[in-house]
């Protein structure tokens, strides 16, 4: 009898620690509806068999206050964000695929209580740890910004200071004018890409990469696509990382969701050809990922 009671108690404790108390209704939504979104939704459903996971296009959703309060919303684009922000009432939401710059434009410094913003940007501390690993002698981190992304410098500086790195900012108001870029490359040791689509996009990639390479400066970040284009390396989170990160958050009650967070799971992608041309020793992606992750707990 006693052992049976203990077994139940232990089981209860385990359930309490490792699983949500009850099956949850998880609703993903966005203005777009395409196979990639459906696949993501299906993968999340598979990851959380105990929950009811479904995707519904934004156009088919009622206003947020008419959705049951126990539902957990996962918003996939900015239209969905606008929809959720249209009223304070309604269920809590996890906002995916939003960058710091986009959030700043939409929300300013305001962080609505019902929202948890999950940044698409690579976490500055991780990216800077990657810099330390690949270019231990680099101290001056060159960061291009425009008026929309200037605020990122503060956060970058906070992350850089403990690592002994200096952030060198340079405004780049007109991407057809290379003078600010050249000036920055001259007074910094590398170019650090930030998630600002105005500055780092397919149109500017060629010039950014060729100019920094021409000045024998490596570029780090801002994302995996840029690494494939010729950036030395970047921290990034792919779909699987996002699924795992979401899984972790969905295990928690919405009341303990952070107002904003970077994904818990990530990877590192390096460009071996570029590393060779810049005479940089590049460990394989998995061990770089592990080394960057190790710094997380220090």
């Amino acid at each position: 009898m006693r052992s049976s009671w203990m077994r139940h108690w232990l089981l209860f404790c385990c359930l309490l620690c490792s699983a949500p108390l009850h099956a949850a209704e998880i609703l993903l939504s966005g203005a777009e509806d395409n196979p990639a979104i459906r696949a993501f939704s299906a993968a999340l459903a598979e990851l959380r068999p105990q929950d009811r996971v479904r995707f519904q296009p934004l156009a088919q959703l009622p206003s947020p206050e008419r959705i049951p309060a126990g539902t957990r919303l996962i918003l996939l684009d900015l239209h969905a964000l606008d929809w959720r922000l249209s009223t304070a009432a309604g269920p809590p939401a996890l906002m995916l695929r939003i960058s710091r710059v986009q959030a700043r434009e939409r929300l300013g410094k305001h962080r609505p209580a019902q929202l948890s913003l999950l940044w698409s940007d690579p976490a500055p501390a991780r990216q800077l740890r990657l810099v330390r690993l690949l270019l231990p002698q680099a101290q001056r981190i060159g960061v291009l910004h425009d008026e929309h992304s200037q605020f990122l410098l503060d956060e970058l500086r906070q992350a850089a200071t403990p690592l002994g790195l200096e952030i060198v900012g340079q405004a780049w108001p007109d991407s057809r004018d290379n003078r600010p870029l050249l000036a920055l490359l001259q007074r910094s040791d590398l170019l650090f890409g930030v998630d600002d689509d105005d500055l780092f996009n397919p149109r500017t990639a060629k010039n950014l990469l060729l100019t920094s390479y021409g000045q024998q400066r490596a570029m780090i970040g801002p994302n995996a696509s840029f690494v494939r284009a010729g950036s030395l390396a970047s921290v990034y989170s792919d779909q699987q990382d996002w699924l795992n990160s979401l899984d972790r958050l969905l295990d928690q009650p919405p009341s303990s969701w952070p107002h904003s967070a970077y994904p818990a799971y990530f990877k590192v992608l390096g460009n071996r050809q570029v590393a060779r041309a810049l005479a940089i020793e590049l460990a394989d992606d998995a061990s770089l990922t592990q080394q960057v992750a190790e710094g997380e707990h220090l």
Binding site: P35, A36, I37, A39, F40, A43, E46, L47, L76, R97, S120, L135, P136, Q137, R140, R176, D177, N178, R179, L182, Q186, R187, P202, A205, K206, N207, L209, L210, T211, Y213, N223, S225, F226, R228, A229, G230, Y236, S237, D238, Q239, Q240, D241, W242, N244, D247, R248, A264, Y265, K267, N271, Q273, V274, R276, A277, L278, A279, I280, E281, T289, A293
Partner: protein, 712 residues
Amino acid sequence: MAINPRASLPLSLLALLATGEVLGDDLFDNHHAMPEVLTATRLKQAPAAVPGSVTVLDSALIKASGARDIPELLRLVPGMMVGYRNGNQATANYHGSNVTEARRLQVLIDGRSVYRPGLASVDWTDIPVAIEDIERIEVFRGPNTVSYGANALMGVINILTRHPLDSRGTRLKTTQGQRGIHDWYASHGSAWQDGALRLSLSGLQDSGFDHDQFGRDYRDSRRLNRFNLSASQQLDSRHSLAWQLAAKEGSNQRPYGYASVFDEQIAPGDDGSDVKARDYAGSLRWTLDFSPEHSLYLQSSAQHWERKQVWRACEAEVAFSPELGELWDLNPFYVVKFGDYLTQLKNNPTNAVLPPGTAREQALATAVRAQLFGGGAAPVCGDVNQSMRETRYDFEVQDTLSLSDDLRLLSGLGYRYDHADSETYFNGALSNHIWRLFGHLEWQLGAHWLVQGGAMLEDDRLSGSSLTPRIAVNYLITPRHGLRAVYSEAVRSPDMYENNVDWRYRVRNLQPQAFGQSSATYFARSRGPGDLDQEIMRSRELGYNGSFADVGISLDIKLFYDEIHGMISEPLRNDRFFPSNANSMRFSGAETQIDWQLSHADRLRLSYAYLDFSASSHLDRRLSARHSGSAGWLRDWGQGWSSALFYYGADQLNQYRFERLDLRVAKRITIGSAALELAGVMQQRLDDEPLTWQENNYDERQLLYFSAELEF
């Protein structure tokens, strides 16, 4: 990556299986339109992996040096010997050799060779590029005909101008100083969606050396103006175009270019024999990126050199005697002996005997003697024309193919047409067609070994065909530290003048007339043999290149043993010019260059070359210093102040020691969005020697000049 302990094995497998699909259509990696930019075809080798010795003069160094023209910058390159024939004729030779000609160096501006085909020279003063437009200079120290074609015998100077996209805005600069320095530069760059353009105009002026060895004024000033237009246009994601137009006009003073051989008392007919020099160039490069692994470019260029040199010279009438000309053609050595006989006739007539020779030689000599005593010693003056026009068309296709991550093939085909037109030098026009085919393979064997080799096949219509191989093995201790062993062969084709010169002066407007003619041919003439072979160089090199990133040191060491066979050593002259492939030369030694970024504010740069050499011709022993080098300290003092101190030294350049200390101090002032830089340069010679030649002297050992540059 944090491992999710809850993901079951089947789920992880599922995720892995899904990865391929997800990567192609990942909700969180949505930059599918991103082009691949730094591809295998665009990336260059890291310094430790380069199959040879390279010195890069970057824009910071170029600016800090305060140099006004390119040859002065080349003093920063280990083993580069820089000399001056006069104030406006610099000669730069890697490892030296001949002091008057620099025939064995290839010089390129954005891939366009500026080595003049006609007279086998590089006119540094006349190259239509302003130093302010130069982004960097890459000097390949050693033979590399595989990559750069014939004439890249002892080295290659690759001058790269600033990309138009990096030149946006306006720059205005003026430089004024002692020794008649008046330089100016103005440029404006603009950019649009997919292209950019820069227009620059510039001028340079100075008075050259002050006095010759006799203390007389030296006529060697220069004045020039240049025009440059450089543009780039991205046509679409795979095609891009870059084109340039350049022109230069100017005047280079020369001292009076003739001394009478018959009577030293005959007065000069003119103040000097100045050259009006005009250069025109246009080039177009079309780059096609087939894929990240395969690209091709097509470059074509057209160039025209115009040297107008006409002056009035005076000589005894007999110099235009048809009989004397015939005698010279028969046997120039007899004419030399006949000249000695004439001198003897003047000083000691009783012992003078007409030199023995064939009956025809003696008959002609007798006739000339009669002309001389029958009034032929009287001076006549006429217009000497030493002008020349040269034209070059050059096409090159180069294909870069990355066969795998570790194997890259560069191959290409080139065609060059050279045309020289000069009544004096070629008795008309002369042209040459040159084809070349080249291939170069880079093969990375694991993390440490790199084997690079190639060959060039060249066919030169005037001097035949040649095949030159090149092989290099690099051992990379780490990506930043590499050892290299290089063997290369290179050729230099004899140039038009060496092989095919037909040098004769047709003097016009003779007053009084010579033998009843107002236009006559000067007796001395020379002809190239037409059957000269190519010079062959064999070079062996061991080297180390390392970068100690933690302390900011880059270091390169080179040990070399080079031999040139079949060397054509005879300088250009119009009497007794008998070039041959009879000479040879050998160089061995060691070179090093160190670049040390001490801090963000301080940079040290050292270069040193020790050269041991032997040459069968005394003419090739002139411009090779045994010890030469440079030392520089660049400092940023903050608040816009910066300074650079350079020392240059060579123990003997044509027997003269050369040591100089240069100091440049600059202050940059920001005014709104504009910037003004004020700079002063002081050069202090540390020796009392002439520069290269005894004629080349300055009144003062010190030179000062100042510049002001506005950017907005």
